[in-house]
Structures are given as structure tokens and as C-alpha cells.
């Protein structure tokens, strides 16, 4: 049965109806490409149902791995799940040989142009490149002229978008040199494909991606200052809201390079340093994902908060390598395209192997006239890529008025525009909603300097148009990604698909926890406990409400009121059950509870706190394991029920149960997933601080009021329940619940992991373990505080705490004691922050006087 021709499969017959698409799967002699036959034989052997089910597995895996692409201007959700179409883009051996040679030549050419522009300027001197294309391009950073770089190759990374036209020829559509993205997504796609659907690789020798990443290490190392023997490399990210943030953290953990933000780095004494919990560590190489103009506010864009003040000085001194070097944005310049052929002849005395799309730069009168006269059939681009997504304008899509407007713009500033021929992009089969459909594809390839020459990734990232006929292809516009398979024997060795990419995570910066990461881990700890504490207390309150409904006694009603009010105070969800409308809310508490649980905008509510938690874990996403992400996704889904579903209190109780289970699982997973000791300390420090403060708050809200025995009993029972200590209490004291014993258990029992004494002990240990910059045995400010809190706990007259004060009808001493403790403990985070995070300071430009 294996011998049946896959092209006669009914599903394919449907696809065949679209004949131009099929043409792309034929060889020059008209025979079907044997690689496609092999592929579709495996494909149909799996069967339609299996394909759909595996496809769902892939989507699930990508979601669990947190693979996302962030969309600009999407305020609600930070991320969009990554989508992959399992039918790859096939490149045969002959085609690959041409692409590889062509792109290596093009990268060498780009490297030459970059070196020349910032050096001798022979291209301008000899009239090969018009000066306007350089001097008038915002990517030309005069501040970078004349800088001598450490590496042989100025350009370290290069990436090109290729399109296959309907006649089968390949064209370079875009050059990417600023901070090329996508290599991490390509790797993630391949890893996922080999893991979930290895059968598709049967009979095809698909080239591996790993040589590219090995070359990347070498290439980055080659930019390091010569004296750095084991160069320390960091990845500079603009932050979690950047569209490709997933990739930054993915590459960080895959390559073992610390992921840093601009404010994690500092320039001192002509070197770049990483601020870590333990002090400053020298950085030799920066792989930047921040655009160059944002990298140094002292000399470049002074309003940038993403850069490192003084960085250019360090570059000038040759004390840091940056990939790509600052100023490389000048090459992302479609205006250069018409001149590339001449530059190639000038520099290598060679012709271009891969042709560039026919382009006309409007800075020349004849070319401008041509563009103006053929506007409706051309694609028009500005010579600089605008930050707001795609800058290509399809002339065919413009109205007569719009065409006129564009003509005026071009005439006013001709040097800024380029007209390009529109390439008829060929179709390739794609799996769209379970059906094979033709789609246009852009293939992005990646090259990296290995020190001496360039290595191309034998594969890459493909993106398909969101709709069949769409001309513009961009991640911002949606659409699918695709794996690209280069089918050719591996030079040197042949390996089968399954072992493609093993986890080669290395950590070269093991001990270095950037202060930014430390701060976020601290907050992850705090939010974890806050979510958990709120869930547990709310669950206890809800259980009382549900039972109380049955027995409408005075005490029960009073307990309900007190508990609801206490919850408001505990969670800071004011006015809640304390405000003017409290009577209405007491009568119908479920509406308010629903709001606290699900309304993301309700400050202090559970959804809202979870959102803060999520933001914090996302900032340090390279610290979490896949299992952790799965737990997080589960909570997310739990907190976003299908709109319109009526949430009964029983369902809400289930939701809380699940949330609690997930958060506990999260805590359990942390110990194994956070490899760095200091990271763990920061996280646990945050947890213990939060637990202490929450416990004090709860006791203040429930146990300081003096009232009837039954009411006090109910409230104490709630305290024990929401701290999961009721059974513990019964086991330990074997007596009815009474306040001296409850306080003994919750405040002073050193063996109870939920007691305040226990938290303070852990806090003390963690604070002692933080790296210190002060000499000898002197205590830090926060150590003083914790010592004072500890002493207060040890010296307090326990008996006085349960003596009621008849005048105020409170346990006044208890209240004072708790308040004092709260003041001491709540001051610690600020001090830790001041010592280790220092994020309250921002860089600001100094005012200038003219």
C-alpha cells in the first residue's frame, strides 16, 4: 500500500484543483519532486484523524512551552500563541547549495558595506553608492564612525527573507541586520515537530539546525575583547512586552547566556558590568535585541530607558563586543538594493549569486520617473524601516487619490523612496484548519559569523500569509509559521530526525543573578502567597456562608458579617464589605465574591493579583520549567471561564480548590526549576515576607475584637481553617478552640510551618545569606529589623495578649503587638529593594542650556 501515489489521494486531488500551486511541486522535467512524494506518503499514512490529533498536540505543546509572539498595540493580552503548520517548506539539495552560497556571499557583501560606511567610505568616494542613502538614513549613526571593532567580521548576524517566485527562482526580499529575530522560533518549531510528529521525517534526510547555534557561540566569542579568555555573554532584551520576548528567554536558556535588561548593566571605568545580587560582574559580549539607537542615552537617543549609559565609550575602547555592532541598522535599507550588484563587482569582482528584486531608488531622476509612472504595479518602500511594522506599500492596493498622495510624497523627498518590482510569490501546500490549502510563503534564513566566515542555518523560519491571496506577510498580521527542511545529506555525518535537538542547556553564568531578575523573583514569591492566602481565606469564608444559610442563628449571621468584613481588610478589596453599601452586600454576598474572584480589574481581587503574579513570572520566564508553565496555564483557564457561564457558589468553590492546588504545585516545582541558589532565596524571601504580613493581617482582622464566646470561636475556627491548621490544632492540644492556644499555634510554635515564628526564622536565615557589601559582623538595616521582630516575639508577655480591654472592647495588647510586628516586617522589602534592586531610579537626561 506504500506504493500508492500520494498525489492521487482524495485530499490532494482537492488541492490539485489549484494547479499553479501544484506546479511548485514538480521538477523541471515535469515529474513530481520525489521529496514531496516521500513526505506526503508519510503524511497520508498517518491518516487524516491522526494528523489532526497530532496537530492539536503541537498546539498544546507550544502553548505549554509558552511559545508566543507579542502583538503591538494589544493592551489586553501580552501574547499571542505561536501557530505552526506541520507541512514544511522543502528545499532540495541543489536549491540549498545555491541559497547557501548566495546568502554567504550576500552576508560578506553586507559586512563589507558596513565596514566601509563606518570606515573609509570608499563606496561613496568612488561614486558606487549615492551619499544620500547613507547620510540621509536614520540608521547611519555618526557616533559610530571610525570605531575599530574586535572581530574580523563587523557584521556578526545577518538574516534574509527569501521568496520563491512562480518560475521557481529565489529572491531576497528583505535584509535584516539590526537585531535579526526568528532563529529561536525556528529551533522551537523543529524541536516540536521532531517530538510530536517524527514519522513525517521518514525517508528524508533533513539537515540539522545545531551547527548554526554552535557557530553563533563562536561568532559572539570572536567579538569579545582580546584579553577575555572565557568571554561572558549576555542577551540584552527590551523587556517582556517586546514582540519576540519568548525568543530572548528561549535563546538565553538554550545558549546559557544571561538574559538582561538595560538597567541590569552599568558602565564603570570603561567596562560594562552586570549588576548581580553579589555585586558587579564584567560583561564581554552583548547579544542585543534592542535597536542600536536605544542602546546609549548619553550619545544616542537620550530618552531611551532600554540602554546602558556610556556604552559607546566602552565600544570605542574595545572593551565590549556587541552583536550586531551599533550602527548596523544602516544596512536595513532597501535603497541599497539597486546598487548591490555594482558593489559586488567593486568588492569581489563577482556577480550576485542570488538576485535582488528589481528596485529603483527615487534619488535618481530617471528612476524616480519610472517609479512615478508605474506606481500601481510596484511596491514602494521607504529607505528606512519604520518601527510601526511593515513599511511596504502595495501600489495595486491604493485608490487613485492615495496614489496621488504617494506621488507627492515621493516628489517632495525622492531620496527616501524605493520602488520595487512585485514578485509573484509561489504557493506551497499548507495545513489550514485540517485541510491542505495553497499559501504564499516567506522563508527567513539566518547567518552568523563563526569568526572567519559565515555559517548559514540549514533550515529556517517560514511565515505564511494569513489569507490565501494576501500579499503582505508579517507576524504582526497573523498567519502561520512553518518549519523549513533542507533535504540534503549532513556534511560529515548523517543523523536521524528524532535526535535532532537535545537539550543542550548550559549555564556559564551560574552564580550571576541579575538584580532585575532578583527583584521579579522576589515579587513572584510575594504574589504566590498573596494569591494562595486570598484563595484560602475566601474559601473558608464561602464555606461558612454556605453552611450558615442553613442555620440562620444570630451568631452565624454575625460570624458571616465579621468574616466578610475581615476578608475585605485582609485582601485590601475596599470598600467591599465595609463600605456604605455593605448591608446590601451582606444580604447578597455572592455577587461581590464573584467580582473579587474573576474581575481582573478589581484591585486586590484574586484575578487581579494573579495577573500581577503572571506579569512577574513572565519577566523572569527563563527561570521556569515546562511543567511550571503547564500549571500556570491551568490557573489562567480557571480564572477565565467561558463568558456567560453562571458561576454558582459551588463552582466557585471548585475554582478556588483548583487554584489552591495549582499554586501549591507551583511552589513545589520551584525548588527544582530554579537552579540558581540566589534566585531561590529571593523567591522564598518574598514568600515568607508575604506570609508573615498576611498572617498578621488575618489575626488583626479576626482576633482582636472582644465579643461573644461563640462568635470568637467561629472566627478562630476560620483562622485555623484558612491556615490549614485546624487538624493540627486538634491533634496538638486536644481541647476546644480557645484564643491562647490559637495564638500559641499561629504565632509562637516553632514547629508549625505556618506560624509567624517559623516565617521570621526563615526570613532571618535568608537575609543572612544575601551577599553583603558591609564589612565584618555589622548588621544590615534589614537584619536589625528582623532581629527586633524576633526579640519582640520572644519577650512578649503571652498572657497579656488575651486580656480583653473593656473600654475598647478589644484585645488591645494583641492589637498593639501585631501592629508593631507589622511595622517592623513591612519595612524589610523596601530596604532589600534599596540594597539589591535599585530600580526606583531611572536614567534621565540632564537639562541643557543653549
Amino acid at each position: 500500500m506504500q506504493n500508492t501515489d500520494p498525489f492521487s489521494h482524495p485530499q490532494f486531488r482537492e488541492y490539485l484543483g489549484n494547479s499553479p500551486a501544484f506546479q511548485q511541486m514538480l521538477l523541471e522535467n515535469g515529474q513530481p519532486d520525489p521529496h514531496w512524494s516521500t513526505f506526503f506518503t508519510s503524511y497520508f499514512r498517518l491518516g487524516e484523524d491522526e494528523i489532526v490529533s497530532r496537530n492539536n498536540d503541537i498546539l498544546r505543546l507550544l502553548r505549554e512551552n509558552g511559545v508566543t509572539y507579542n502583538i503591538h498595540g494589544d493592551p489586553s493580552g501580552l501574547n499571542r500563541p505561536w501557530k505552526i503548520d506541520i507541512i514544511p517548506f522543502l528545499i532540495n539539495r541543489n536549491e540549498w547549495n545555491k541559497i547557501e552560497a548566495g546568502l554567504r556571499q550576500r552576508t560578506e557583501l553586507m559586512n563589507f558595506i558596513l565596514t566601509d560606511i563606518y570606515g573609509e567610505q570608499s563606496l561613496i568616494k568612488n561614486g558606487i553608492v549615492p551619499m544620500e542613502l547613507v547620510y540621509n538614513h536614520p540608521g547611519f549613526l555618526r557616533e559610530c564612525a571610525g570605531i575599530k571593532l574586535n572581530s574580523k567580521k563587523s557584521l556578526v548576524l545577518y538574516s534574509a527573507d527569501l521568496a520563491r517566485s512562480t518560475d521557481g527562482s529565489l529572491w531576497v526580499v528583505n535584509d535584516r541586520t539590526q537585531a535579526p529575530s526568528g532563529s529561536g522560533y525556528a529551533l522551537e518549531n523543529r524541536t516540536t515537530m521532531t517530538r510530536v510528529i517524527p514519522e513525517l521525517f521518514d525517508g528524508l534526510k533533513v539537515r540539522h539546525l545545531s551547527p548554526y547555534f554552535n557557530a553563533l557561540r563562536e561568532g559572539l566569542a570572536s567579538t569579545a575583547p582580546s584579553q577575555a579568555r572565557n568571554p561572558r555573554i549576555v542577551i540584552l532584551t527590551p523587556g517582556a512586552s517586546n514582540e519576540t520576548y519568548f525568543e530572548h528567554s528561549f535563546l538565553s536558556s538554550y545558549l546559557g547566556f544571561t538574559l538582561v535588561h538595560g538597567n541590569d548593566l552599568i558602565v564603570k571605568e570603561n567596562y560594562v558590568w552586570l549588576k548581580t545580587l553579589g555585586g558587579l560582574e564584567k560583561v564581554d559580549v552583548i547579544l542585543r535585541r534592542v535597536d542600536d539607537v536605544f542602546c546609549d542615552p548619553v550619545e544616542l537617543r537620550e530618552d531611551s530607558q532600554l540602554g546602558i549609559p556610556g556604552l559607546l565609550q566602552v565600544v570605542r575602547k574595545g572593551n565590549v563586543g556587541i552583536a550586531n555592532p551599533l550602527g548596523s541598522g544602516i544596512l536595513e535599507n532597501p535603497g541599497l538594493m539597486p546598487f548591490l550588484q555594482q558593489i559586488a563587482r567593486f568588492h569581489f569582482s563577482e556577480d550576485l549569486i542570488l538576485p535582488t528584486i528589481a528596485s529603483w531608488w527615487c534619488g535618481q531622476p530617471d528612476e524616480m520617473n519610472y517609479v512615478l509612472n508605474h506606481l500601481s504595479t510596484l511596491v514602494v518602500k521607504r529607505i528606512n524601516r519604520s518601527s510601526a511594522g511593515s513599511s511596504a506599500i502595495d501600489g495595486a492596493a491604493l485608490s487613485a487619490d492615495q496614489l496621488k498622495g504617494l506621488q507627492q510624497q515621493i516628489r517632495a523627498n525622492p531620496t527616501l523612496y524605493v520602488g520595487q518590482e512585485k514578485v509573484e510569490i509561489s504557493y506551497t501546500p499548507s495545513l489550514i484548519n485540517g485541510k491542505i490549502e495553497p499559501r504564499k510563503v516567506l522563508f527567513r534564513n539566518f547567518l552568523v559569523s563563526n569568526g572567519d566566515s559565515y555559517t548559514a542555518m540549514a533550515g529556517g523560519l517560514c511565515r505564511t500569509s494569513s489569507e490565501a491571496g494576501n500579499f503582505l506577510i508579517s507576524n504582526q498580521l497573523g498567519g502561520f509559521s512553518k518549519d523549513a527542511w533542507v533535504i540534503s545529506p549532513e556534511p560529515g555525518r548523517v543523523i536521524h530526525s528524532l535526535k535532532e535537538v537535545s537539550d543542550t542547556t548550559t549555564t556559564t553564568f551560574n552564580s550571576m543573578l541579575p538584580s532585575h531578575a532578583a527583584e521579579n523573583l522576589f515579587w513572584v514569591g510575594r504574589y504566590t502567597e498573596r494569591v494562595l492566602g486570598n484563595c484560602r481565606f475566601l474559601r473558608t469564608v464561602m464555606q461558612f456562608l454556605a453552611e450558615g444559610n442553613k442555620l440562620k442563628t444570630y451568631n452565624n449571621e454575625q460570624t458571616e458579617r465579621n468574616l466578610l468584613e475581615a476578608f475585605t481588610r485582609y485582601s485590601y478589596t475596599f470598600p467591599g464589605f465595609t463600605g456604605k453599601e455593605k448591608e446590601e452586600k451582606f444580604a447578597e454576598p455572592w455577587k461581590e465574591i464573584r467580582d473579587i474572584l474573576f474581575n481582573e480589574k478589581r484591585i486586590g481581587g484574586i484575578s487581579n493579583t494573579f495577573k500581577s503574579f503572571h506579569r512577574a513570572i513572565y519577566e523572569v520566564r527563563d527561570h521556569w520549567s515546562t511543567d511550571t508553565w503547564r500549571v500556570i496555564r491551568a490557573v489562567e483557564e480557571e480564572l477565565h471561564p467561558e463568558p456567560g457561564t453562571q458561576q454558582t457558589h459551588l463552582q466557585m468553590l471548585h475554582t478556588l480548590d483548583d487554584l489552591i492546588t495549582s499554586m501549591v504545585a507551583f511552589i513545589g516545582l520551584n525548588r527544582e526549576s530554579i537552579s540558581r541558589e540566589q534566585g531561590w532565596i529571593m523567591l522564598d524571601l518574598g514568600r515568607k515576607i508575604e506570609q508573615s504580613l498576611l498572617l498578621i493581617n488575618m489575626l488583626k482582622a479576626t482576633m482582636t475584637g472582644y465579643s461573644s464566646e461563640q462568635l470568637e470561636y467561629n472566627l478562630m475556627q476560620a483562622v485555623l481553617m484558612s491556615n490549614e491548621n485546624l487538624i493540627n490544632y486538634r491533634y496538638k492540644y486536644r481541647l476546644p478552640v480557645q484564643n491562647t492556644l490559637v495564638l500559641d499555634l499561629m504565632l509562637f510554635d516553632p514547629n508549625n510551618p505556618r506560624s509567624l515564628t517559623y516565617q521570621i526564622e526563615r526570613l532571618r536565615a535568608h537575609l543572612q545569606n544575601l551577599p553583603k557589601n558591609i564589612p565584618g559582623h555589622a548588621l544590615t538595616d534589614y537584619e536589625r529589623l528582623i532581629l527586633e521582630a524576633d526579640t519582640l516575639m520572644k519577650l512578649v508577655q503571652k498572657k497579656e495578649l488575651t486580656e480583653p480591654d473593656n473600654q475598647t472592647r478589644t484585645y488591645k495588647k494583641l492589637n498593639e503587638f501585631l501592629e508593631k510586628l507589622y511595622d517592623l516586617l513591612s519595612a524589610i522589602p523596601g530596604m532589600v529593594s534599596k540594597t539589591y534592586f535599585k530600580h526606583e531610579v531611572t536614567t534621565q537626561p540632564m537639562v541643557m542650556l543653549r
Binding site: 561613496i124 551619499m131 548619553v298 537626561p845 540632564m846 543653549r850
Partner: protein, 292 residues
């Protein structure tokens, strides 16, 4: 003729600053008309790092950083400059080229024209609109040479605009200055540059000083208390010719050039970044004295 210049920049921070990085362009460059013969830089507190380099335009740049916590930063630059000859065009040196001829010459390929032509493009601080272009065109009727037209434009800016500080800031666009008809020397320089670039000419922004104390019997020049600014036009056959619209004169003896760029941003005397959440104040004092 020799000058002694003392330029003091003082920043007072309302909250202590841990780190600052600064770039100063305060050392006059050597030109065909002047030599900087002496310079002393004193910075308080002591900077942890100081580098000097020459920027893309050939200007002298000082970079320094202060690492220790400080509440006040004072930078004093003392320089001595020897003026070798004046810039006044002599009858023999006057060029009679037109705007068209100038543009054509600048279009020649090669690095030399490229470095001139880069001063012919609009920059963020020298954007022009129709109003500015029309204002400029009035100075260039048919048959006017570049020299005459530039002189005329300088003269008109001086007459039509009022020197008045406190109305404009660094962020005020030229179009606003055009409307208000008020500003300071930097505004007039930017306006002149925008006008002349709208015509197609290459124009530089010059940062510099003018003599503070005038010789007896001569009026004190405007803009003497701080750094001064004017513009310079490329004229084939003459090279770069300076014009000071604030004082309506072709700079000569009393003008000292620090350096040049496409606009203020390229040659700002002092810029810096501090790591701080607080605000700060700035005071600048300049003294320019004739020594011989």
C-alpha cells in the same frame, strides 16, 4: 588677537546622584582662523573616568563619568584661543556663484562633496514648512549670488526677529520661532539654516563664543553671557562663510568657534545622563576676555 575663555557648568541635584555620564563639547577646535593654545578642565567631584575623542565632524569631545554619590556637579573649562586671521571676505575672495551653480557643484560624486552635502538635508531641529521656504525665497530672487542672498537673509532675520530669552526652549520648533518672530541666537541660527537648506544650500550650525567685554566705545554684543551660535554657508570658491544673524554681522575678530554640526544636537556644549529620580537645576556662566 588672543582670548581667554572660562566656561562653568553647574548642576545642582535635589536628590543625591550616584552615577552620571557626560559628554562635553567645549574645547574650541583648530580652524584656518584660530588655534586653541591652552586648555584646563576641572571637574568636581573628581570623575572616575575621562576620555577624549574627535567626533564625526572633527569636533573635540570630552567624555567623563562620576561614580560616587554627589549633589552638585561643577565643570569648568578654561581655554585660550589665538585668532589667526579674520573671516571677512575681501573683494578678491568674493564668489559670484548662484544657488543653482552651487547645487550643481555639490552634486559631483565623491567623498568631499558628500561631506558638504550632508549639511543640506533637513534634521529634526531644522525642518522647514512653506512659510519658512517662502521667507527664504525672498532673499534669493533671480540673479542673486549665494553670498548676497545669505547676507540678505541674515540681515532680514536680524530686522524681523526680536532677541528675547525665556520664550523658546530647546524643544521649540523652527516653525514656531517663525510665527513668534522671537527667540535667542540658537533659534536664529536654526531658522537661517532651515531657510538656506530649503533653497538647497549646505549650511552648518556653529557653536561658539563671542567676546564678553567689548573694547571701549563699542557696544557689547548680544549673546555674550552664554555660549553663542550662528550658521555657516558653503559657497564654491570661498568655502564655508559664517553669518551671525543675532548680531547681523559676518563673524570676525570677536567670534570664537567651538565646533559645528548639522544642528544644535550634533554640537550641544554639554549633555549627560544621571541615574536619579529627583529633579535638578542648571547654571552656566561664560567669560570671554581679550588678553592681547
Amino acid at each position: 588677537m588672543n582670548y581667554s575663555i572660562r566656561h562653568t557648568t553647574s548642576y545642582t541635584y535635589h536628590e543625591p546622584v550616584g552615577i552620571c555620564h557626560n559628554i562635553a563639547r567645549l574645547i574650541p577646535r583648530n580652524t584656518a582662523h584660530q588655534n586653541c593654545t591652552k586648555r584646563e578642565i576641572s571637574i568636581s567631584p573628581e570623575p572616575s573616568m575621562m576620555n577624549e575623542f574627535i567626533d564625526f565632524f572633527g569636533n573635540h569631545v570630552i567624555y567623563f563619568s562620576v561614580d560616587k554619590e554627589h549633589s552638585k556637579l561643577v565643570v569648568t573649562v578654561n581655554t585660550e584661543v589665538e585668532k589667526t586671521r579674520t573671516l571677512d571676505p575681501t573683494p578678491e575672495s568674493v564668489s559670484h556663484v548662484s544657488v543653482e551653480e552651487t547645487i550643481e557643484e555639490m552634486q559631483q560624486p565623491g567623498l568631499e562633496t558628500a561631506t558638504i552635502r550632508q549639511f543640506a538635508f533637513a534634521t529634526p531641529m531644522t525642518q522647514w514648512n512653506d512659510e519658512i521656504a517662502a521667507y527664504a525665497a525672498e532673499s534669493f530672487p533671480d540673479g542673486r549670488t549665494v553670498l548676497e542672498g545669505s547676507f540678505d537673509l541674515m540681515n532680514r532675520i536680524h530686522l524681523d526677529f526680536t532677541f528675547s530669552s525665556g520664550i523658546t526652549t530647546i524643544a521649540t520648533p523652527v516653525s514656531e520661532v517663525m510665527k513668534q518672530r522671537k527667540g535667542v541666537c540658537q533659534d536664529f541660527a536654526h531658522l537661517g539654516i532651515s531657510c538656506l537648506r530649503s533653497v538647497g544650500l549646505a549650511v552648518r550650525y556653529i557653536s561658539g563664543y563671542i567676546e564678553t567685554i567689548s573694547p571701549k566705545g563699542r557696544e557689547k554684543l548680544v549673546g555674550a553671557d552664554a555660549s553663542h551660535a550662528w550658521f555657516s554657508v558653503y559657497i564654491p570658491g570661498m568655502g564655508w562663510v559664517d553669518f551671525d544673524p543675532t548680531n547681523n554681522q559676518i563673524p570676525g575678530d570677536q567670534h570664537i568657534t567651538i565646533g559645528w554640526g548639522r544642528d544644535y544636537a550634533d554640537i550641544a556644549p554639554f549633555r549627560g545622563i544621571i541615574l536619579s529620580s529627583g529633579t535638578h537645576d542648571l547654571a552656566v556662566a561664560v567669560d570671554v576676555e581679550r588678553t592681547t
